[in-house]
């Protein structure tokens, strides 16, 4: 099993304009893409939302990792397509839902690849999110790569005990993941308890007024990104609500094999 999907969410410091952008501007951009992707179910619009991201990925020089995470997401994309299609949606709608998933995954992968957890924490704090909450969030993000490593070790340990993940019918394969998930959850809980105890022993939350060392400042370019995103998102919402969009007319659906659907 490949854990490459996590690589596409791992931050790496690079001197590109996307990496240097203010985390709040980047977050606005991601949210803009998120809202737009959820507003549309039209395949053309969703394809545009996906394509718009490609130049940004290129500018952030994260092409390879992004492609890796997209490849890793293919299985889920296929599942979404198959589920929609099997349960009675048209071919076009099923494809649209798949493109929506891919767009969302791409947008979030881009955000996490180019925003350091520290910046993210600072941004949340400056947005007056309570420190305990922002800390929880950044810790969760930071622990993803650690969890990915843990997951790989658990998989290795169980394979060494004769577990073959890709063997058996669909239900058996799902069941095969139980010996992976339980140790992973247990060790995550153990780790979080240890982390909490370690933090408290080091005086976490002792002083209510924290003074950050680094203060984030929005630059002109960041304001420009925020303004453009808001304008485009507003436009997207307007179009999705009031403008009828053309859609490819292919009324193919799955024959009804399950009578009660």
């Amino acid at each position: 099993m490949s854990l490459k999907v996590f690589d596409g969410f791992k931050f790496a410091k690079l001197p590109t304009p996307i990496h240097m952008m203010d985390p709040r501007a980047k977050f606005t951009m991601t949210m803009g893409l998120f809202v737009a992707a959820l507003m549309f179910s039209n395949i053309y619009a969703l394809t545009i939302i996906f394509l718009v991201q490609l130049p940004i990925v290129y500018a952030a020089k994260t092409w390879k990792k992004w492609a890796g995470s997209m490849r890793a997401g293919l299985l889920f994309a296929f599942l979404i397509f198959a589920m929609n299609f099997v349960f009675g949606s048209t071919l076009v709608f099923s494809a649209a839902m798949t493109v929506r998933f891919v767009s969302l995954m791409s947008a979030f992968s881009l955000f996490f690849m180019t925003t350091s957890p520290d910046d993210l924490g600072l941004a949340l704090e400056q947005a007056h999110v309570p420190y305990t909450l922002s800390f929880t969030f950044t810790t969760a993000v930071r622990l993803v790569p650690t969890m990915a490593l843990d997951a790989q070790t658990v998989i290795d340990a169980q394979r060494s005990r004769g577990l073959e993940l890709d063997k058996g019918n669909f239900m058996k394969r799902v069941r095969n993941y139980i010996p992976i998930l339980i140790p992973l959850i247990v060790s995550a809980i153990r780790r979080s308890i240890e982390l909490a105890e370690a933090l408290e022993s080091r005086g976490f939350g002792a002083s209510p007024n924290r003074q950050p060392l680094i203060v984030l400042r929005m630059r002109l370019a960041d304001y420009f990104v925020v303004a453009t995103t808001i304008a485009l998102a507003a436009f997207a919402i307007y179009v999705s609500l009031y403008v009828p969009l053309p859609s490819p007319d292919i009324p193919i659906t799955m024959p009804k094999i399950i009578p009660w659907l």
Binding site: A157, L163, I182, P183, V186, R190
Partner: protein, 273 residues
């Protein structure tokens, strides 16, 4: 027999961890793999059951190239006990935990019951048979993890850091148990930093540093070689250090365990009388 030829391994997007290892471990040998953190010890043993396939060179297990077999197939002969038991325990009862691998390998229920009962007894776990492995202490969980591999009686046993988190008493028992396994004809390979443990067992030591074998020989040779110890980030075991201090009085600093030291001292005393 476990044999590696020109074994190199690099993790994806990382530099080479194993940089050309030629190693032969005969059936029934007792080997300790030692070396600094990041030397490639765990990576090396993961190539023995096919979890990692060499980026170049090859690994042969009893004449079978690991590339031409599955992890499940290789694991029948090469049992690997991971360092942290929490990375593998998942069942509601210790008994079930032990039966898991046997089911994977296709044993019948009768054989499973027999083998599980047997191993529970051997590793002093019978009273926990129906307890959840998660409520056991760290040392007990480690024993369950060991039992979970021993239960299918693999020909070669590999233990990654077996002494971590064990008190002296448990360590002693573990040592006896490992030696016993070895005398029964099993190949036993341990990865460890624990020089005291190794000094008392006196296995063959394979010393790794930065992905290469820098020393390979009997424990008393490796653990008394000043240069090798330094390169491998190891220190002499306490008895070895004492004998080293006493070398001007005619003691050999190749003596590293309590029993041999006692013999050497008694011998010297007798001579003086």
């Amino acid at each position: 027999m476990i044999r590696t030829e020109g074994l190199k391994y690099a993790y994806p997007n990382a530099s080479e961890v194993l940089r050309g290892i030629d190693l032969t471990i005969e059936d029934g040998e007792f080997v300790a793999i030692m070396g600094e953190n990041g030397a490639g010890k765990t990576t090396l043993v993961k190539t023995f059951n096919g979890l990692l396939l060499p980026t170049s060179g090859r690994v042969m297990i009893d004449g079978v190239n690991t590339r031409e077999s599955s992890v499940a197939q290789l694991s029948k002969d090469v049992g690997l006990v991971f360092q942290n038991p929490d990375h593998q325990l998942f069942s509601e009862a210790v008994r079930e935990e032990l039966a898991f691998s046997l089911r994977n390998f296709g044993y019948g229920e009768d054989a499973i019951d027999r083998r599980v009962a047997n191993i529970l007894e051997t590793l002093d776990l019978a009273r926990y048979a129906d307890s959840s492995p998660f409520i056991l202490s760290g040392g007990e969980r480690k024993r369950v993890a060991l039992a979970a591999v021993l239960v299918w009686n693999p020909k070669h046993m590999i233990l990654d850091e077996p002494t971590i988190g064990q008190d002296y008493d448990q360590k002693d028992r573990l040592r006896n148990f490992i030696v016993q396994l070895n005398t029964q004809g099993k190949t036993v390979i341990i990865i460890t930093h624990d020089v005291e443990f190794v000094a008392e067992c006196r296995p063959r030591i394979v010393l790794l540093s930065r992905g290469l074998v820098i020393g390979d020989g009997p424990a008393e040779d490796i653990l008394s070689d000043e240069q090798l110890l330094e390169r491998g980030s190891l220190t002499r075991p306490q008895i070895g250090a004492l004998m080293h201090q006493l070398r001007d009085l005619g003691f050999s600093d190749r003596v590293i365990d309590a029993y041999s030291a006692q013999q050497a001292i008694l011998h010297a005393l007798k001579r003086r009388q």
